[in-house]
Amino acid sequence: AAGVIQSPRHLIKEKRETATLKCYPIPRHDTVYWYQQGPGQDPQFLISFYEKMQSDKGSIPDRFSAQQFSDYHSELNMSSLELGDSALYFCASSNPSGPGTGELFFGEGSRLTVL
């Protein structure tokens, strides 16, 4: 079965550079979520989109922005990168059909290293 696809899987950037991560949700999934997980930390929710509109917003820095496109894929844009942005970035998708059906399917993550 198709899973959530994230690219790139690994990315190395210098401080103050920009980076873009891409997420391709499972087909027919209309909701996308972005999470950031630093070394040894728990996943932190950044932002989510439903039908191309921002749905929920978490602890996403102002330097970051995201959007969901007409084909439902999403991109997370990060500018003025800092050392602390080094983390695993997970994308998840879902297609809930009502209460209690919002299982999140996570991708394998994109590992960003800022030097």
Partner: protein, 112 residues
């Protein structure tokens, strides 16, 4: 969003049953309880979800008391491959689209 509290770590041996309890005192009426499993450097994986009483699937059972202020994930006969971090999340809401917030999970170590 309801805050959850879980034990930081647990140890077990292969073949034993493991029960991980999560407290969520301020759970909302329309919140569901969901458990995820995460291996190092991998995305979390859905284990089980419930609203009240007991839910069972092929890998785990979820026990939720009537007041819903806590829940217990039960893993029968664990194996070494069950060594992972387990997260209890509360949310989802009426539409199922509300983002889930991960708290501090429980690191389960299964030994031979």
């Amino acid at each position: 969003l309801a805050k959850t509290t879980q034990p930081i770590s647990m140890d077990s041996y292969e073949g034993q049953e493991v029960n991980i309890t999560c407290s969520h005192n301020n759970i909302a009426t329309n919140d569901y309880i969901t458990w995820y499993q995460q291996f190092p450097s991998q995305g979390p994986r859905f284990i089980i979800q419930g609203y009240k009483t007991k839910v069972t699937n092929e890998v785990a059972s979820l026990f939720i008391p009537a007041d819903r202020k806590s829940s217990t994930l039960s893993l029968p006969r664990v194996s070494l491959s069950d060594t992972a971090v387990y997260y209890c999340l509360v949310g989802v809401g009426d539409t199922g689209r509300r983002a889930l917030t991960f708290g501090s999970g429980t690191r389960l170590q299964v030994q031979p």
